[in-house]
């Protein structure tokens, strides 16, 4: 078996982890495993590895790698390489890649801590909007268009106050 990272040396380190309820396997040679810190229990290297290399090749097409933050010029490839974002806007730009990464890294993917006073109202509004949008989709699915129209109006009002 050949190492999935360098694709040259024989893979001797085999990792298995459940990510998003699917089993992910990773086969690495010793040099790559060491370089990625696989033996370091303190790190989050597995999550980074999954994002960087083990993700199925089809998912990480060139187009995705070319995703670029308009604000700071950081690309998805930069993010994968350094494990760091370029600016706060990057969190919106690379949201898809982040979602899976955060799941393996933290207790949850939603902030449950301190909210700046000035943001509290907005955060509440956003939560309301999110709930209404969810209800709207559900109403459309069950073809309850009367309810959907009501929700659409409510959303319009909520959006105006954000």
């Amino acid at each position: 078996m050949v190492c999935q990272l360098c694709k040259q040396k024989e893979a001797t380190v085999h990792l298995t982890q459940i990510v998003d309820e699917t089993m992910k396997k990773l086969d690495l040679c010793e040099a790559c495993a060491k370089q990625k810190g696989v033996n370091d229990p303190a790190g989050f290297s597995f999550a980074e590895l999954l994002l960087g290399a083990a993700e199925s090749p089809e998912a990480t097409t060139e187009a995705v790698d070319e995703l670029r933050c308009k604000r700071c010029g950081h690309t998805q490839a930069d993010f994968k390489k350094a494990g760091r974002l370029g600016c706060s806007d990057c969190y919106t730009v690379f949201a898809d890649a982040l979602e899976g990464l955060l799941k393996g890294m933290h207790r949850g993917t939603r902030h449950r801590g301190k909210i700046p006073a000035a943001m509290r109202r907005q955060v509440e509004q956003e939560a309301i909007l999110e709930r209404l949008n969810g209800e709207l989709s559900a109403a459309i699915v069950r073809e309850d268009f009367e309810q959907a129209a009501r929700l659409r109006d409510e959303i319009k009002v909520a959006k105006a106050t954000v």
Partner: protein, 372 residues
């Protein structure tokens, strides 16, 4: 302003007391914050970094907590001065490596230190002696609230405070305590304890943080997860874990004195012998032996009052402190440092009587083969 004149003298720093300070050296809570839509320090161009620095510095300096403080740009410090700050755990090793466009603001009591343009635009820390995680959190929370009103940090309802590295995302909080665990090391229970601490999602590191060795039986315990739970939940969990580690350490010490008293006496006595008689000694050996001397104080072989002296020796024998305090020469080689370190130790330990195992409660454990 001169950094070394501003810093609290080493003897005074080591006399500061806190809860559980037999085992917990210090507590720290750090928050990572960033300016919205501005490149993070590690990504932006120098001009971006300078602009962020110019924006943040005056606001941080104006905080009431920072009324009496020192602010300095990293490029105005000598490598030795930067290293002194690292040895005091006031700035990170990463921050010490930075230059123009990065800096710090430190208050007179050394209870707050804010790093500007470290990995994030702001890394603000509250520092307390002993186990005071809650107090440190409340202090830095208040400081953050005021700064938030004046600056407005990058924040999203879903992800919380946005940070350069996703490992700090959400609360941006790092809660940590520095522990002295010689009992667990000597009784060989440390691996088990550290594994348990690791398994519940906390990180254990050496004296100077990430990727450093646990010299002098000193371990730093901190949270790794920052998203998905509140700051208070994180603080309380670590606090609970630390109280358990402290209990295990105390039990290990009692167990050692019951079953292997001679081994402990031997360690402490030899540590004293080497530290007070050597003519050249490395930093690593010094730290490991001073740890045993500190254990000697804790179990009563040395007077309780000498703990702050032992702690001061640990600080002043670090390379940068040694060079700034005891020589005018800017750069000493490692060999020269080892000689100077031994000279300082011999001189200081003249004032400390030999460890006395008879000073322990009772007549001391009876000597038998099983002790060893």
């Amino acid at each position: 302003m001169n950094l070394l004149e501003f810093l609290i003298p080493t003897a005074e720093v080591c006399r500061r007391a806190g809860p559980q300070d037999r085992i917990v050296y210090s507590s720290r809570v750090r928050l990572a914050r960033n300016l919205p839509s501005t490149p993070f320090p590690g990504h932006g161009k120098k001009a971006d970094r300078m602009r962020a620095y110019e924006t943040l510095l005056p606001v941080v300096k104006e905080l009431p907590e920072m009324a009496d403080s020192m602010a300095e740009s990293m490029d105005h410090l000598t490598p030795l001065e930067k290293q002194v700050l690292v040895e005091r755990h006031l700035i990170s090793r990463d921050h010490a490596a930075r230059g123009a466009g990065s800096g710090f603001v430190l208050n007179r009591e050394e209870s707050f230190c804010v790093m500007i343009n470290e990995e994030d635009h702001l890394r603000m820390q509250a520092l307390r002696p002993g186990l005071q995680l809650r107090q440190a959190w409340l202090a830095i929370d208040a400081l953050d609230t005021v700064l938030q009103e004046r600056i407005g940090f990058a924040f999203s309802a879903e992800r919380g405070y946005l940070t350069a590295c996703p490992t700090n995302l959400g609360t941006g909080i790092r809660v940590s305590a520095m522990l002295h665990l010689p009992g667990l090391v000597l009784s060989e229970q440390i691996g088990q304890i550290l594994k348990a601490v690791n398994d519940i999602g906390l990180a254990v590191r050496g004296l100077y943080g990430e990727g450093t060795e646990a010299l002098g039986n000193i371990f730093q315990v901190s949270n790794q997860m920052t998203l998905g739970e509140s700051e208070t939940e994180i603080v309380e969990r670590i606090n609970k874990v630390l109280l358990q580690v402290i209990e295990h350490e105390e039990n290990a010490r009692v167990g050692l004195l019951e079953k292997k008293a001679k081994v402990v006496f031997n360690h402490v006595g030899r540590a004293y012998g080497i530290l007070s008689h050597s003519h050249t000694i490395s930093s690593k050996e010094t730290m490991n032996l001073l740890s045993l001397l500190r254990l000697g104080v804790d179990i009563g072989m040395l007077p309780a009052a000498s703990r702050s002296m032992v702690d001061e020796l640990l600080l002043i024998t670090q390379p940068a402190h040694l060079q700034t305090l005891f020589t005018r020469r800017e750069k000493l080689g490692a060999d020269e440092r080892d000689i100077l370190r031994a000279d300082v130790l011999r001189e200081r330990l003249k004032g400390l009587d030999r460890p006395d195992h008879m000073a322990l409660g009772g007549a001391g454990p009876a000597l038998s083969g099983a002790d060893i």
